[in-house]
Symmetry: D2
């Protein structure tokens, strides 16, 4: 298991292929530091005895103690601990864990490579196990690298005017393949070790060149990572915990990238493409059933605290709004528990969360994302948005006046009111706001994907049959 300083040192040694706003930037660029600090915590908590039970696991291949974020789920219990780890981590930093992506992709690989081999006698699973050993041994970090840029959405990959709009193989060689294309929404790619790529959609038999899965180092030749977004909250005076953490996003271009065969995990087995997408998504949405209720808890806590400081906590409409957020948090969590309970063992021995409960939980979470921002804005009032800059609270001329005028109920110091509203503003009206909203809505798949998943996996035919029996319609 690595410690955070080892992780950072490795980042600093990696190749020079990160771009931001028109310039090449180092991997430890100031803008990435909130994300790097978040990632660092994933290493360091594993050495904390209070976290050990959740943050570490025993590798099923090496028998060694490993960071749970590199573990392949071996039981229902593993899934439950994974959710608990995610929840605690979210409480710990107040932001997206980010490391889930690579872990979810690795678990999906463990399922799909095995199933392909079973059908075709290929050796993807063997390659995967070797790669997994390397991944666990070096305690590596990777984003999900799945979403294609998709071009004309009414056309399939092979129908696009530019065939590269879905990532594909452009050359097969004796020692490996050459790939070209782009993947999008790759969150922490700028400060990750690896990129693990798989297809984002179902493919037809004309689309063998698009049916590829593989892994490359994040600084492999031909890879260009274009980092974006999410201005971290810079603090000059107060160093609140939450303001240390954050994230970024990335658009990753594979400009004729060579991948040696031992890192290729699918090449042309088109019918397995949806299994890659589906399995990765299930693992990722399953994690949302853990982080999302934890995040909702932060909205609940912030709303309740703002109402307490305003001395309106007992008002019916406040209670009702917070009550509804509680219901959502509890229901999404219950869906995650049910998904753990309904998990099943894939051919490779890897445990996969129950699909229906996972989708239902993720759907409710996503559907309420913007609503939660609205409620926090509603309860915290105009100042939740319009709080003056931090500097004005520390300026000798304006500071005392601002502290005087933000006072609320007796017994609560103006400093604490300032801190709470600073936290609220950073949530609902900072450079991060839209990123968090967009991620909460689309992360792990847009809302319509959950509806599709529910229709696909729920046994609707059985429900029709029950109705037929009750209504007197022959059920055959």
């Amino acid at each position: 298991m690595r410690k955070s300083d080892q992780y950072l040192k490795k980042l600093q040694k990696m190749g020079n292929n990160i771009y931001m706003d028109g310039k090449k930037v180092p991997r430890d660029h100031e803008q990435f530091m909130p994300g790097i600090r978040t990632m660092s915590e994933t290493f360091d908590v594993a050495f904390d005895p209070q976290w050990e039970e959740f943050a570490t696991a025993t590798s099923h291949i090496s028998g060694k103690k490993i960071n749970r974020f590199t573990h392949i789920h071996q039981s229902n219990e593993d899934l439950m601990r994974r959710r608990e780890l995610t929840r605690r981590f979210f409480y710990h930093t107040g932001v997206c864990v980010q490391r889930c992506g690579g872990a979810d992709t690795m678990n999906a690989l463990s399922v799909v490579t095995y199933d392909i081999d079973k059908k075709y006698g290929t050796e993807y699973y063997k390659r995967f196990l070797k790669y997994l050993e390397y991944f666990q041994e070096n305690d590596l970090v990777a984003p999900i690298t799945m979403t294609d840029v998709k071009g004309d959405r009414s056309k399939r990959p092979h129908q696009q005017t530019d065939p590269d709009l879905y990532l594909r193989v452009v050359e097969k060689k004796a020692d490996g393949i050459v790939v070209r294309g782009a993947k999008n929404c790759n969150s922490m790619a700028s400060y990750g070790d690896e990129l693990i790529v798989s297809p984002s959609r179902a493919l037809t038999k004309e689309e063998k060149d698009w049916a590829i899965a593989f892994a490359v180092p994040a600084d492999a030749e031909g890879v260009k990572i274009i980092a974006s977004g999410m201005s971290p909250h810079k603090r000059k005076h107060d160093s609140a915990i939450y303001s240390q953490y954050g994230g970024t996003d990335a658009f990753t271009i594979f400009d004729n990238v060579f991948v040696p065969w031992d890192r290729v995990f699918m090449m042309g087995e088109v019918e397995f493409a949806p299994l890659y997408g589906g399995t990765t998504a299930i693992y990722h949405r399953f994690n949302y059933t853990a982080c999302k209720p934890a995040w909702t808890d932060l909205f609940i806590g912030a709303c309740a605290l703002a109402a307490e400081y305003n001395n309106v906590e007992r008002h019916e409409h406040i209670q009702e709004k917070i009550g509804h957020m509680i219901a959502v948090a509890v229901l999404v969590d219950a869906a995650g528990q049910a998904a753990s309970k309904q998990s099943w063992k894939a051919g490779s021995g890897t445990w996969v969360p129950g699909s229906v409960a996972t989708h239902a939980g993720r759907w409710l979470a996503g559907s309420n994302m913007y609503k939660e921002f609205e409620t926090l804005s509603d309860i915290s009032g105009g100042l939740g948005t319009t709080l003056p800059y931090e500097g004005d609270f520390f300026n000798a001329e304006t500071g005392p006046l601002l502290h005087k005028y933000i006072k609320r109920k007796d017994g609560v110091d103006a400093e604490n009111i300032h801190k709470l509203w600073r936290y609220i503003q950073d949530t609902i009206a900072s450079g991060q706001t839209g990123y968090m909203q967009g991620g909460g809505l689309h992360g792990g798949g847009s809302p319509i994907m959950e509806t599709i998943g529910l229709m696909h996996d729920y046994d609707v035919a059985a429900k029709k049959k029950i109705v037929k029996r009750l209504a007197g319609i022959p059920t055959e």
Copy 2:
């Protein structure tokens, strides 16, 4: 364990205290038969080997095999079986089980009588156990008899101009007490054996006379049961299963009713009043987390079948509407599972479902009640409401024409289309519709009660603390 014919025979022998629309009516009145048939099934399934695991239990007091609807939950596992029984029963009949009420009240008595005794050294629990023995031995049936008529809602019981607007003791005698008042929304009181009464709200120390719990036979002297509602679907021609079942409601008046001491389970211990209300409600809402998803499944099945017959099943907006109903069904069920898992053992050894998950599940179910009727109406089109009467489909002149004109996609017989739309109309536009909607909304407590329950039982203080820590606010 009784069989349904024994149940019916006993009903027919009971006293003459049922009123409906201005007349005294027998307990086996035609209008009650759909309800009686539903209740009858609760007896008969217990003798069916396929139901045995769920529909029977072993009494913890007698060791005998009993009907699960008279059982006091002895484990987490009992709660899970109870939910499974409820779900299956709903699929079996398509209507409200109704027998849950008495079972929930008995479980609440088992918890509260014990706790009162512990504090006061009273002997309510002993009396309860004796009554339970009688209840299990005779396999009895009872409604929830809790909701007071409440008068002026801005006043407490003892502030009402007429003190009887909350049921109370008007005389204490050597051999028992005399009670006066009314209870409302007592569902199957007209065809139940017993009435088990408890307070519906928190009480103050001035309100000892209202702090009473007791049981009387449903035909005790002074009891007047005024039955109402829910026109059963009368079928002349087709005898679909669902049309055999139904329910009614009742308004029960206690006009100076004598209760012997051995049937009195609380007398003046005001601080335990909310525990009666709360515990009964938790058990009842917990059952909703089982019957409500089963009911939603009927909506899902009916919508999917209607869409299939119309040949529009793959349309995006159909998929989305059904998908959302699935999400609700799955989430309410997950909440029930979580509530089972989070259940706890009360002093008496009775298991009580986790409150937070129960409330969240019941809240989601209630919030979506009217929405589900709307969706079924939406997908089944105008004819879901305006289907001609059954007779017209069997009239020689109009029958063939109606069958001709309700045809939809090839391969589905007009008779089956008729049967499905008959089922739909009986759901969304019959004399039962409003009863089912009102029951779905208010049963087990109106929506605002769940919000109150969630605010009360969720650990909001812990969430405030998490936010304080992240925001840098001292946590003490």
Copy 3:
């Protein structure tokens, strides 16, 4: 202008072609009387000086004073008076006006027949004017007779296995045409004078036989009207105004019905089919923008009165729920006003309401239909659903007890509480409930039709252009 007794006498003389539940029934059957009484008011208010301004108009063809329900809109002002008439009428009876249907169809005919003639030099408009004269002179009543039964919804009319699943011409003769098919959801057909038929959808050039519009007397040979639904509230004791009124529905079969040429208003001009459907729908939805806010006002009044009697009127959650209903009522009404203002003059001189505002208003009304029942159920509590039958309130033994136990705040008589909750129960939990809900949702077109209408008629291209200009994208 007729008086109601003339209307009734004519009904009683009409032919014998009404069926209900397997039997032929007279047009003045007890079940139809609430509907007939509603219709009767449409005649009698026209003679009331207080209604004259709204309930009468001056015929643009005869110059005579006519009932406004037979008038062709000659100005923006006519549209506004029409809305005012509808609103007042709804307040007057508490139920659907029903007579709008025929009036809307006649206005649509006045627009479309003129436009067809203009293109083809046909003489439909001349025929229409003659028919209109007859219609106005005899002060006639007709339902909308437009909705086809539609069979397999994925197929066009000419692709159906049974071509009659959309009403069509089966024979053309020298003196007229013979039509076959069925129309559905024809509300007051059982007590109307005429049936005026037009196509319900766009048609292709293969579908000339389906492109027909015509009028026949409601008792024409071959017409079979199968009446259904909506049990009227029968009152034994109290005769509240609202309980006198009601409606029914009908499924109308045209079993080889002959139509003379002078009553044929389209025959094969397929491209005008959507104009018939669209124009009728606009008029009908426009009326919804008047009746629906009036209906919402009844929900508002009932909720506010129930809250007042319960003495909880000032509670925040009550205020918020009623406040939202007010917003909906006001917005739907505003949409109707905007649609009047944006109305335009068709070729024939008939005024047509603005489409976009009409659709938006109808959409909001329909979207909130079930919600309003839910709110009334919520605020009126369990008793809104479970109120005992009327007879029990007049029975010597139970009446005084029921009156005692339904008392609420001091100063409100139990009789009035009974009357209000009777009104509420008849709204939310009677045989009419589902009919009103289904009609509120689907009447004038299901919710998805308004979305389609909005997308079709709103100038989305202009909005794209505004965004292009702001974003710096060339707008050509």
Copy 4:
């Protein structure tokens, strides 16, 4: 009428009392320039013949042609033109007009000062007219300066531990008054000419010192304006129109500010305090019924364009989502039209918009604010949030690749796709996002204020009476 260069020159000459992030900053600070450019347009369009009809008016006091933003509404027609001006202006810049605030406050002053004088024989209206002359002559600009900081929300102004938590008079002198306190959410205060202050709530007779209205120059001695927020979109390469405009917010402190008597418009007449708040709010909410539909149109245009570029414009779920936004835009606009039509003439001759329709429109707009961001995020996909920085599109190494990979349907240039998604990201995921959301929710009063307004101004008593009549309850 001023031109924008005169406005800017005056700003640059004003006193030095703007603070931002701990420093004093000039009024033409870079961060304020997007707001200043927006304000500048309000001057310059008045000289454009195409805008003249809406952007200018004739002063009712001087008879001169003035900028409409300084006009006192003299007719229903003025209100309609005002809405049209607002709508066009929003289309023109894509951002909040900001100048409405001062105009709304001036109109409120014109109503309230007159009414106070009528009751007390004071001379506020005379003072107001003199101030208005100055305001119109110099074509001035001012924010709404009404929202008090409010302290403990459960306490009235005079009950606060610190009485300054509502702005108040601390000294009355021969030549004027001295005021102390703070006002919040003052939008464009940093680049406005004046501050016009009025009370934000109802006051009791103990609260005469808080019942004050007055105007001071924005750089008056003792005024400290603390500016905040809303990072403008800085563009290095592309200069899209929308990116030139923006806004800021301000927290304004009145630290013992002297106000001469001729600028005092209320001093102690407590019962008129709610009229100030209410009238200002009505004018401001009325403007929302114009800008909000225009803003929704930008969401509609952006969604439709994104769907077009993605080639999914005809998908049902896209149509439905855009259709619902159209309905909201049309309904809010219809409410504004109805409010114009229902406007009334106050004692001073000033026209005031109808309250009920104004509240209903603002409520619907506010309720859908976050939803519209959600829909744009939903339809524009992940890239709406995660689009790389502008610089990367102009870097020689990454630019061509990014343009290659954001291509969508044939025939749409990558440059235009980039421009649209840049516009979308700046809307849904930039430093402005949360400000726009918070302003959309709270501006003109938080959502609960509209509910309160609706309950207050809608004639609920009349609706109760209608229900009483129908239900047979005596109406007295």
